[in-house]
């Protein structure tokens, strides 16, 4: 049976939620952007009046001010946006339990089973759109189709506050004339290659010889061919499905540039504490530690190394990160942002080969200490107990990495490749 899949995208989500809470800004340009004082100075989302004047996501705040002098910047309130995101999911849940978020502001909904009594996809989309507007005071664009890829293209097709149905009758008119770069997983590199073979639109991709695509792009070539023809079989995941965690990391842009090892040590410890706490919360240990460093001219790199024994101990992760840092950075430039990540996760209870030259007793004590700190923080707040190191620089150590960590869209293939490509000839 043909599926009915909706892709709902909250238009200019952060900005729309802010606009709702600031009725006096109606019709005026507004952008949600990092706090310029804390130097996270880019536009996260602009509202439509600002977009019309050329403000784009990712612009530095000063650039936005140049194209739109009257623009008002507001600092992001992530908790508020997550609340609205949750409310939207509650509305979606009235129509299906197959809802899969893609970032905070987008969701796929498989409403096939609701069509028998709620009406067809368009009807359900209209109802959802109306309810979101009435109950949340923001607008959505919804794409309706028989597969996830076309549903997403549909929600991008007309914005804001619009519904686009892409069915077997009209998909060649709508989808096939779109530039190939609109397709998920056609990035700059793939687009360039496709251009070389004269493939500019999704239609041209759909009609290209799949064996040529496979020769040039590997399996991804076949998958893209399938996407372009609407043959993607990837199911919409259940709402409570949690993808297995593969790594846990945190990064931060620091309140001021870091200029020496001591500065870096403070930040690395803040991040390591957050990472290690989350490892312990989720009953993981890591076998690889990775750091990423970005200097004040925005060139960045990352380095990783295996560690002796699987660990969730804050100081071990921090010291591994510091060692990596010492080996790789030579202080040619001050540093703007740093990240620490724990990879190659294993179950915390995995048996390990003890090492004669590492005191397991000491490690046990460190672990107990971390658990005690977790407990104290749980009861009395994050800042109730601190390392002495943090008092070296109150400004730097004020970064609360754990609670500040942001939400990223997950990859389309995070749950494995379920496109159905393997059934092709």
């Amino acid at each position: 049976m043909e599926r009915t899949i909706l892709h709902s995208d909250c238009n200019a989500f952060y900005a729309s939620v802010e606009m709702l809470h600031r009725p006096e800004m109606k019709g005026k340009p507004l952008a949600v952007g990092g706090d310029p004082e804390a130097r996270h100075g880019i536009v996260l989302t602009a509202n439509y009046p600002a977009k019309r004047l050329g403000v784009k996501t990712g612009m530095a705040l000063w650039q936005a001010k140049q194209v739109c002098p009257d623009i008002v910047f507001v600092p992001p309130r992530m908790d508020l946006y997550l609340r609205f995101s949750r409310l939207a999911h509650e509305i979606y849940a009235d129509y299906t339990d197959l809802q899969e978020p893609f970032g905070v502001d987008e969701s796929w909904l498989d409403v096939t089973d609701s069509t028998s009594y709620k009406g067809d996809g368009l009807k359900i989309a209209e109802e959802i759109s109306r309810r979101i507007k009435f109950e949340l005071g923001i607008t959505v664009s919804i794409g309706v189709s028989w597969n996830k890829i076309f549903a997403k293209l549909g929600s991008d097709y007309k914005k804001p506050d619009a519904i686009t149905v892409i069915n077997k009758e009209n998909y060649k008119n709508i989808v096939w004339s779109l530039p190939v770069s609109d397709l998920l997983y056609v990035g700059r590199a793939t687009e360039k290659k496709l251009k070389l073979w004269g493939i500019h639109t999704i239609g041209e991709l759909a009609q290209a010889d799949p064996s040529l695509l496979q020769r040039q792009l590997g399996k991804m070539g076949l998958i893209l061919h399938l996407f372009a023809n609407g043959d993607d079989q990837t199911p919409v995941s259940k709402e409570d499905y949690r993808a297995p965690i593969k790594s846990i990391g945190n990064s931060t842009t620091t309140p001021r540039d870091l200029v020496n090892d001591e500065d870096v040590r403070i930040i690395v410890y803040v991040l390591a504490e957050s990472v290690a706490t989350r490892l312990r919360e989720n009953n993981f240990k890591c076998r690889v530690v990775e750091i990423s460093v970005r200097d004040n001219e925005l060139s960045s790199y990352s380095k990783q190394r295996k560690i002796e024994l699987p660990t969730d101990i804050t100081s071990e992760i921090a010291e591994a990160a510091m060692e990596l840092f010492h080996q790789s950075y030579h202080w040619n430039k001050p540093i703007r942002s740093i990240g620490v990540r724990a990879c190659d996760l294993v179950d915390a209870l995995i048996p390990v080969q003890l090492n004669l030259f590492i005191s397991e007793e000491r490690r046990q004590r460190l672990h107990q200490m971390d658990l005690a700190v977790d407990q104290i923080r749980k009861r009395f707040g994050f800042s109730s107990v601190q390392r002495g190191l943090m008092y070296q620089d109150k400004l730097l150590s004020a970064v609360n990495a754990k609670e500040d960590h942001t939400v990223h869209p997950h990859g389309y293939f995070e749950n494995g490749n379920r496109t159905g490509v393997e059934y092709l000839g």
Binding site: L20, H21, R22, P23, E24, R83, F84, L87, K133, F134, E135, L136, G137, I138
Partner: protein, 80 residues
């Protein structure tokens, strides 16, 4: 700018079946407005005041007024 969103003090009752029923709105200056009846309660946004939450339609001295219970556990009314 005149403020269209007014947070107010509210006296409310939790019934045994778990329903939250506002009973009285207390204005900044201490004036009390008894809610005679709640005619409707639904999720709604207030474009006028700027916010969203549970919207109670309250009958106060014979005329209907919207009272919103925001997701942050604050109550607000729209300024007339």
């Amino acid at each position: 700018m005149d403020k269209a969103k007014i947070y107010v003090k509210v006296e409310a009752e939790f019934t045994t079946d778990g329903t939250l029923r506002p009973q009285c709105i207390i204005w900044e200056d201490g004036r009390r407005f008894e809610i005679d009846k709640i005619t409707d309660c639904r999720r709604a946004a207030s474009l006028k005041a700027g916010g969203a939450g549970l919207r109670y339609t309250c009958m106060i001295s014979g005329s209907p007024h919207y009272l919103f219970y925001e997701e942050n556990y604050k109550w607000f009314v729209e300024d007339k």
